[in-house]
Amino acid sequence: MNQHHRAANYNFAYLDEQTKRMIRRAILKAIAIPGYQVPFASREMPMPYGWGTGGVQVTASILGPDDVLKVIDQGADDTTNAVSIRKFFERVAGVETTTKTAEASIIQTRHRIPEEAMTEGQVLVYQVPIPEPLRFLEPRETETRKMHALEEYGLMHVKLYEDIARNGHIATTYAYPVKVEGRYVMDPSPIPKFDNPKMHMSEALQLFGAGREKRIYALPPHTEVVSLDFEDHPFEIQKFDKPCALCGAEQVFLDEVILDDRGNRMFVCSDTDHCESRRADGHTGAVVQETI
C-alpha cells in the first residue's frame, strides 16, 4: 500500500526513545519469562485507556521504518478503532500498512487471532484490558502476584469445576485461561476460545500490552500454550453449524449478522481479510450463490 508522510513534530512512532527503551526492556523480560506479567511505566497516550493503549505502546516500541503494519479489531481491518489506530501509526510513523495477514510484519489485534497461520518473523501484538487471569477470583494485585509466584492456581480450577457442576459447561467462552510452558496461568486477552489453539507452538512472536493496568507479557515462538481443562471435560472450541455465507469457509470464527426484524440472520467470517482473499480465489458462500 501507499507510503504515508510522517507527521513532523513527533518522534518516530510517537513515543520518545527513552520510553521505547523502557518498554523494550519490559518486552525482553516478558519474552524471557513466557506468560509472566511484567510491570512497565505505561504512558498516557493520545487515545483513551481501554482503547488499545497497551498494544499501541508495544507496537510503537518495536516498529521500524521498514515494517508493514496491519491493525484489526474483531478480526476486521475496518472496524472504527482499528481504522483509528492504523491512521495513528500512518501519521506518526509513516510506515506501510496492509490488510493482508501474510504481508504484515506486525499485526496489532483486539479480540481475534487471524485465521491464516502466522509465520516465523511476524509479530502479533494483543490489546489487553485486564491482564490478570485471576482478577475476577481475587481483586487484589498484592494477592494475585503472590498466587502466581507460588503457582497457586487451585482457585481457578475450582471456578472451572463449579461452572461444570452448575451448568454442565465451563461458562467461559472468551478470555479463556491458558497455562504457558507448564508454569504461568495467562489471560489470552478477550479472544474467543476458538482462537486459543492458534497460540500453541505459534511460529510468530506474540506480545501482550495492557496500558491502563501497566503490564506486558509475551509468548515467544514455539511456546507450549494449553487451555485449562479437566480429563473428563476436555477443552473444546466453538463450532458453527454452517460455513461462511460469503466465502463458504468452514472451521473459521463467524459473526452473526442480523438481516431483518423477522429473525433472518446469516453467519460470515469475522476475519475480513481471510474472507476477501477466499472470495478473490473464487470461493463462494450460500448468499453469493443465491444472488448469482
Binding site: 513527533y10 472504527t80 487484589r140 494485585e141 449478522v257 446469516m266 460470515v268 469475522s270
Partner: protein
C-alpha cells in the same frame, strides 16, 4: 442484501467534522477566547490543571474549549500533552509556610497569627441565582492589602511546637514519580499523595464523605486551608544552589485528626494532607480525608472501610483511566458477544430438553 460494513474511515472523518461544527455552535455568537475561559471560568481551569497534572492556564483553557466543557475530556487532553514533555528534574520541596496567602482559614482557633482571611470564597454567599450576571454589570474591584505581607505560620507548625501533632515526614532523596514508574502496592505516602492529587474530585469527595459518615471515621478538624502563590525552586548542580523558576498558585489543607495513641506513639493529633494546583478547597479537603484514611495501617488502625483500602482507592481514583475503561464498552465486542450467544443458546437448548423430559415422564406417570 447484506453489504459488508465498510467505510469506517469516512465515517470517522465525518463524525469529527460534525463534532467541530457542534463545538463552534451558532456562528453569529462570538467564539470563546482562552482569556475568557481562563479569566471567568477559572475554577474549572484550575481543576483541569490539577487533575491534568500540568500547571498551564492557557493550555487548560484550550483543553476546556476543545472538550466543549467536558472536564474529564479536558483533563485527558492535558495529560496526553503532558506525557510528551521531557522531564528535566524535580523541584525543591515548596514551602507553603512562605505562601503569599489570598485565603487562609482555620476551624481550630478563633484567632491566630496571620489571622483568618476569607479571600474569594463562595462560603456565606446565599445561593440565589443572580440575573444581573446575564450581562456585563460593573463589578467593583476587591480590597487589596497595602502593607507587605509577613509569612503566615502554618497551624500544623504551631501545634507541632508543642508536640501535640505528629511530626511531618521528612523526605530524603528523589521522590518517586507515579508517571514514570509502574505502581506496585503498597505505595509510599508520597506516591499515594501524588495519586490523590491528580485523582478525580468527585470520587475523592464521595470517599472523604464516607469517612465522615462512619466508614473509617477519623474525627477530622480543618486545621488549616490556605490558598495562594508559592515560589518553585530547582537545584542547579552547576551553581550549587537552588534558583526560582516561577510561581504557582496552590490550595493546601492540613486536616487535624484525633488519635488515641498506640503502643508505639503517644496520644497526639495526626495529619491528613491535601495539596492541589490552583484554587480547589473541596478537592484538598476530600484529599486530606482520604490521605488520613489511607494511613490506617501505618497508625495501627483496623482496615474496615473502602476509603482505607489503598488498592481500592488508588486503582480507581484516576478519572482518565476510569472513563477510558468504562467508555471502551462502546467499542465493538461482536466476537465475545457471539461466543456468549453460542453458549447461552446451547444451555437454553439443554434446559428445554430437561423440561421436556420431565413433562414427558409426568405425563407417562399420569397415564
Amino acid at each position: 442484501m447484506y453489504v459488508a460494513v465498510k467505510g469506517g474511515e469516512a465515517a470517522i472523518d465525518n463524525a469529527h467534522r460534525l463534532l467541530a461544527d457542534r463545538r463552534r455552535g451558532d456562528r453569529s455568537v462570538p467564539a470563546l477566547t482562552l482569556e475568557q475561559i481562563a479569566g471567568q471560568l477559572a475554577l474549572g481551569v484550575d481543576r483541569v490543571m490539577s487533575e491534568g497534572s500540568l500547571y498551564d492556564r492557557r493550555l487548560a483553557a484550550l483543553a476546556i474549549k476543545q472538550a466543549r466543557g467536558d472536564m474529564i475530556e479536558a483533563i485527558f487532553l492535558l495529560r496526553a500533552y503532558r506525557t510528551t514533555l521531557p522531564r528535566f528534574g524535580h523541584s525543591e520541596p515548596i514551602d507553603t509556610g512562605a505562601m503569599l496567602v489570598e485565603r487562609r482559614i482555620s476551624a481550630c482557633y478563633k484567632d491566630l497569627p496571620g489571622g483568618q482571611l476569607l479571600g474569594p470564597t463562595f462560603d456565606y454567599t446565599h445561593r440565589l441565582l443572580d440575573e444581573e450576571l446575564d450581562g456585563d454589570p460593573t463589578i467593583e474591584a476587591g480590597d487589596k492589602r497595602t502593607d507587605p505581607q509577613e509569612p503566615v505560620t502554618r497551624i500544623a507548625d504551631i501545634l507541632g511546637a508543642e508536640g501535640l501533632i505528629e511530626e511531618d515526614e521528612t523526605a530524603f532523596g528523589e521522590p518517586g514519580d507515579i508517571t514514570q514508574t509502574p505502581v506496585e502496592f503498597p505505595l509510599s505516602r508520597a506516591m499515594r499523595l501524588q495519586s490523590l492529587s491528580r485523582g478525580d474530585e468527585g470520587f475523592l469527595l464521595a470517599l472523604g464523605y464516607s469517612t465522615q459518615r462512619g466508614y473509617a471515621r477519623s474525627h477530622p478538624f480543618a486545621g488549616e486551608i490556605r490558598i495562594g502563590e508559592v515560589e518553585v525552586e530547582i537545584f542547579m548542580p552547576e551553581l550549587g544552589f537552588a534558583v526560582p523558576v516561577g510561581r504557582v498558585q496552590l490550595t493546601e489543607c492540613q486536616m487535624v485528626n484525633q488519635f488515641k495513641g498506640s503502643a508505639k506513639a503517644p496520644p497526639q493529633f495526626t495529619r491528613g494532607y491535601g495539596l492541589v494546583f490552583g484554587q480547589s478547597e473541596r478537592k484538598v479537603m476530600a484529599m486530606a480525608l482520604c490521605d488520613r484514611a489511607l494511613r490506617a495501617e501505618e497508625l495501627g488502625e483496623d482496615i474496615v472501610a473502602p476509603a482505607q483500602d489503598q488498592e481500592f482507592v488508588l486503582s480507581h481514583c484516576d478519572n482518565v483511566q476510569a472513563t477510558g475503561f468504562v467508555e471502551h464498552l462502546k467499542l465493538p465486542h461482536y466476537v465475545d458477544f457471539q461466543s456468549e450467544l453460542g453458549l447461552v443458546r446451547t444451555m437454553r437448548a439443554e434446559h428445554d430438553q430437561v423440561a421436556n423430559d420431565v413433562a414427558f415422564e409426568a405425563k407417562e406417570a399420569a397415564e
